[in-house]
């Protein structure tokens, strides 16, 4: 018993690999396919985006039904976040208006966030088609895509966000 616990302390100090030797190994194996049921992550290159497609027109309907009460007509905001406008307000002296259109660096984030968290009262209730469509509508309102654009797993990651190049990764350093 003594040697076992002493061994554990040494293992912790030596390396992560040694730790496992004394781990009780209580994890329950699960297949990657089973794990997918919980996997909401969408990478900026589009990995994780589901099948399906959405249009601006359909998105306008979804927005009117499920978003406008909190995000206002045409995404103008109030009581919740303004989703549209503010482009050109970030670099100067005026108060910055941060929105999906002016600030967000990746279009994939829009799909990811709406799917996991919106509408506030009913998260994870929208179909893939509804999420693609309402994402398209918000991007259209910001002048980033045209009213004819169709969004799917291929086209969404290709949407270039206007503020993309202003984002700089600091890690592993930190700012002053």
């Amino acid at each position: 018993m003594f040697t076992r616990s002493a061994g554990f302390i040494v293992a912790l100090l030596v390396s992560g690999a040694a730790v496992a030797a004394e781990s009780p190994q209580r994890g329950q194996p699960i297949t990657a396919a089973e794990a997918a049921a919980w996997d909401l992550t969408i990478a900026p290159d589009g990995v994780g985006l589901p099948k399906g497609r959405g249009t601006v027109k359909r998105g306008e309907q979804v927005f009117a039904e499920k978003c406008v009460s909190c995000h206002g007509e045409k995404g103008e905001g109030k009581p919740a976040d303004k989703l549209v406008g503010g482009q050109g307000t970030l670099g100067g002296d005026q108060a910055p208006v941060k929105t999906v259109g002016s600030y967000w660096p990746y279009a994939t984030t829009l799909f990811d966030y709406i799917r996991r968290a919106m509408p506030l009262t009913e998260p994870q209730s929208l179909s893939a088609e509804e999420v693609y469509s309402v994402s398209a509508y918000v991007l259209y309102l910001n002048g980033i895509i045209t009213d004819k654009a169709v969004l799917d797993a291929k086209s969404l990651p290709r949407v270039k966000m206007p503020n993309r190049d202003n984002f700089h990764i600091v890690y592993p350093a930190k700012i002053q």
């Binding site: 912790l12 329950q28 194996p29 992550t41 910055p96 009262t121 990764i169 002053q176």
Partner: protein, 421 residues
């Protein structure tokens, strides 16, 4: 025994030697202040002459401490749901530990009511063996404990503003708290799952109605990250992540994902909403600094502070908290003349890496106007900046990671207010 420590100020406007209280010389000052109070007749109070209350299953603070509470509450815009935060009442607390019921809280769509028997932690992605863990399974692992602060990246953000915001230590700086966290080192679980060498980051996601998620460098996960199950000895409170949260000592609070249900190992960050739209710093010329993780050294005087009125000239103890996400607090200096001169404060043991550290210094207030400041230096040599320095580098729109020196103005009437010096 009593080494003579003179009451001559060690810095401007009455700051005294930090060792004075410790070694007893302060008694002179205290006695003279107390001596002026009128003598009162000592009565035997009612509670000494009647039996007290019966025992309690879970203790509560005295009913006379009812004003010590988290706050302020945000406006209720969506009928009692939605994002929000409340802050710890720093001006009412002492020592380094925040009581569980007063630990600041921040959530993005409410506090989930999680049944621990049904909760699962999934570890998947770039691993050899995807695994799930129940709370019960995790309880079988060897645990570690550490005292660590958690600070919201938005704490103190009002100090970037053009005018000194009215507020208290709580309302301006209360998005920081410190607890003893106990749980399983994340490294041990990652080892069990078998990390694919291609993995460089992991996504941590909560089981709340925001499914709040952040990308974390795998190096941090293998270093001092913990799956925390206990907070100050009891199971983590729902508002702090029951039944489990990620603890990333020193990193911005939002990354210490509460109600943790999923860890996915990946090559690149996911660029989630809370690491792009929020918790990124808008600097000069529109540049945005993303993934600035550690909370830099900071300190704030909690006593005296706004809301606590001075009760006449005499000797006071100035007390406050200091912390650094990069290591230990090496020293805290205090000024009573708006930063013209500084005196070293005493640090109360224990002084721990990435934990709140209590500092104290005696002060003879002469009854005139004063500006109190504190300045922390950590063991990396980093010095807490002045407002001018911080805004000079970052501009004033960064919103997050504000750690500049706070000034409390003391008026001749003894009122304490937040000011810019």
């Amino acid at each position: 025994m009593l080494e003579h420590i003179d009451e001559t100020p060690v810095a401007g406007n009455g700051l005294l030697d930090r060792r004075m209280f410790l070694r007893g010389a302060g008694a002179i000052g205290l006695v003279s202040a107390a001596g002026s109070a009128a003598a009162e007749t000592l009565m035997v109070p009612a509670w000494t002459k009647t039996p007290g209350a019966w025992l309690q299953g879970y203790g509560q603070p005295s009913r006379f401490e009812g004003n010590v509470a988290r706050g302020p509450f945000p406006a209720d815009l969506y009928g009692g749901i939605g994002p929000g935060s409340t802050r710890a009442p720093l001006q009412n607390l002492e020592g380094m530990i925040t009581p569980n019921g007063l630990h600041f809280e921040r959530s993005h769509n409410g506090i989930p009511d999680i049944n621990p028997d049904q909760h699962r932690l999934l570890i998947h992605g770039l691993v050899k063996r995807p695994l799930t863990f129940t709370v019960e399974a995790l309880s079988r692992y060897p645990m570690t404990s550490r005292i660590a602060f958690i600070e919201c990246a938005g704490n103190s953000g009002a100090l970037y503003g053009p005018k000194a915001a009215e507020g208290t230590a709580q309302s301006l700086h209360g998005l920081v708290s410190c607890a003893e966290w106990t749980g399983v080192p994340l490294a041990m679980l990652l080892e069990e799952a078998g990390v694919d060498p291609a993995a460089k980051w992991f996504i941590a996601e909560g089981a709340d109605a925001a499914s709040m998620d952040r990308s974390v460098p795998l190096a941090k996960g293998l270093d001092d990250a913990m799956i925390a199950l206990y907070q100050n000895g009891e199971r983590i409170r729902p508002s702090n992540g029951y039944p489990m949260r990620l603890l990333l000592p020193g990193y911005q609070g939002n990354m210490n994902v509460k109600w943790l249900r999923r860890i996915k190992l990946v090559r690149e960050p996911a660029m989630t909403r809370d690491e792009t739209s929020k918790y990124s710093l808008l600097l000069k010329q529109g540049h945005v600094a993303q993934f600035n993780f550690p909370m830099d050294a900071k300190s704030v005087i909690t006593k005296p502070s706004p809301g606590l009125t001075m009760t006449g000239p005499g000797i006071y103890e100035i007390s406050g908290i200091a912390w650094s996400g990069n290591g230990k607090v090496a020293k805290v200096e205090v000024s009573a003349d708006g930063g013209k001169s500084w005196a070293l404060a005493a640090l109360s043991d224990p002084v721990l890496s990435k934990a709140l550290t209590r500092f104290r210094i005696p002060w003879r207030w002469d009854g005139g106007p004063a500006i109190l400041q504190s300045r922390a230096t950590d063991d990396s040599g980093y010095v807490q900046p002045t407002r001018e320095q911080q805004i000079g580098v970052r501009g004033s729109l960064a919103q997050y990671h504000c750690n500049l020196i706070t000034s409390w103005g003391v008026s001749a009437a003894g009122e304490v207010k937040h000011v810019y010096a």
